[in-house]
Symmetry: none
Subunit: 208 residues, 2 copies
DNA sequence: TTCAATATAGCATGAATATGCGATGGCTGT
DNA sequence: ACAGCCATCGCATATTCATGCTATATTGAA
């Protein structure tokens, strides 16, 4: 029986990425593990890697970028890749966004080791795995406040980090026009006329 | 020659804490490594441990608590303990506050593995170690002398509330030109190119 | 008292944003 | 099959922002 033996990690914190490498090798019986700190490095690797089965552990908050669009790009390059979010994020809106991108797993960095192993088993049998902590957060999430779509929230993250339309477009692999559309729809929903107002709104609603 | 062989880790993310355990054992030649996720668990351990030499790796952002007060408590319980901040924080103000608590080391989670090893060597010879990334952030923070004048801060408040130049000018009874001047001086000091970056900076520095 | 910092104000110009008004496909649920 | 939302992309235009350069008055410290 064939098992997944190759995994990659994307985490902007080098020490964390490297430590996770050791963890996956030692505790999850994965033979080859490589880690990357920037989205582009991972994407470049994936292009060379081809379309074999591969486990990808993705963080959500990355240095100057966001895991969501990386996920889209990964799946486009290698449809056979199994992508698992492994993140410290806890905001319901953010978790809901991740889920809508249909990852193969959703793991908290605060979860037990056993949950990673359970996740790997589930993913191997083509099931989507969500750790207990996130399951709880998502179930108790009231839907009333969240009028923002995942893509909108992602774009919002970039703006909150001071990125312009062009920079955000580049990071998300989108057309600048699309970024503008997302931004304007958010501003319409939130009743804002400027980016500054939008950021104030986002802070008040814990979206960033 | 006696060497430090016992280390403990405090990180609220279990997976990260456990991974760091492996890292310290495998790459830093530390025999005994234990990790904790809550400050109280660590403190309890320290009371039982006594006053022998011990390495402590502390995160800054913890679940419902903060590494600073933990540091104080650790030093009170065991003056021989060497405490190293290992954190993902990057805001100059936050780093500066950590330094004021006089830890034995200041390491970024984004640093190279070699810097952890260098830190251990430095700490062993009673030196305080700061990783390059943090050294840079702290030094450029001083040069930037980001002391905002009262008028500048006042203007900043209006911008953080989503006011435009014209609106701010109206509220402050100033010429729009003057408002622009205040804004641009702040952005020059903080090294920002846009309002969004300015607001991010202001949040990181607790200016608003 | 000289000097540095602050506060005030202006002109000019290119870059970015805000907004009106579209359009096409892909899903989801009924 | 169809409505409704989501994501994607486009054009055109008015407004605002970002920034180079300049300038005066006040104030407090050296």
């Amino acid at each position: 029986m064939k098992t997944s033996r190759h995994a990659v990690i994307l985490d902007d914190q080098k020490i964390v990425a490297f430590s996770l490498e050791l963890l996956l090798k030692r505790e999850c019986r994965i033979d080859i593990v490589q880690s990357f700190n920037r989205g582009n490095d991972l994407i470049q690797f994936l292009r060379a890697f081809g379309k074999e089965e591969l486990l990808v552990f993705l963080d959500y908050y990355l240095q100057d970028e966001n895991g969501l669009s990386i996920l889209t790009e990964i799946k486009r390059i290698n449809g056979a890749a199994k992508v698992i979010f492994l993140t410290g994020a806890t905001a319901p809106a953010v978790l809901a966004s991740m889920l809508q991108y249909r990852p193969d797993g959703l793991l908290s960095k605060s979860c037990e080791l056993g949950e990673i192993q359970a996740c790997l088993a589930a993913v191997k049998s083509r099931q989507t795995f969500i750790c207990r902590e996130f399951e709880y957060i998502l179930s108790s999430n009231d839907k009333r406040a969240e009028t923002f779509t995942p893509r909108e929230i992602e774009v919002l993250q970039y703006f909150s980090n001071g990125y312009s339309v062009a920079e955000t477009a580049s990071k998300t692999f989108l057309s600048p026009h699309t970024v503008v559309t997302h931004r304007r729809k958010m501003m319409a929903k939130a009743g804002c006329q400027t980016i500054a107002q939008m950021l104030k709104y986002a802070h008040e609603h814990n979206l960033i």
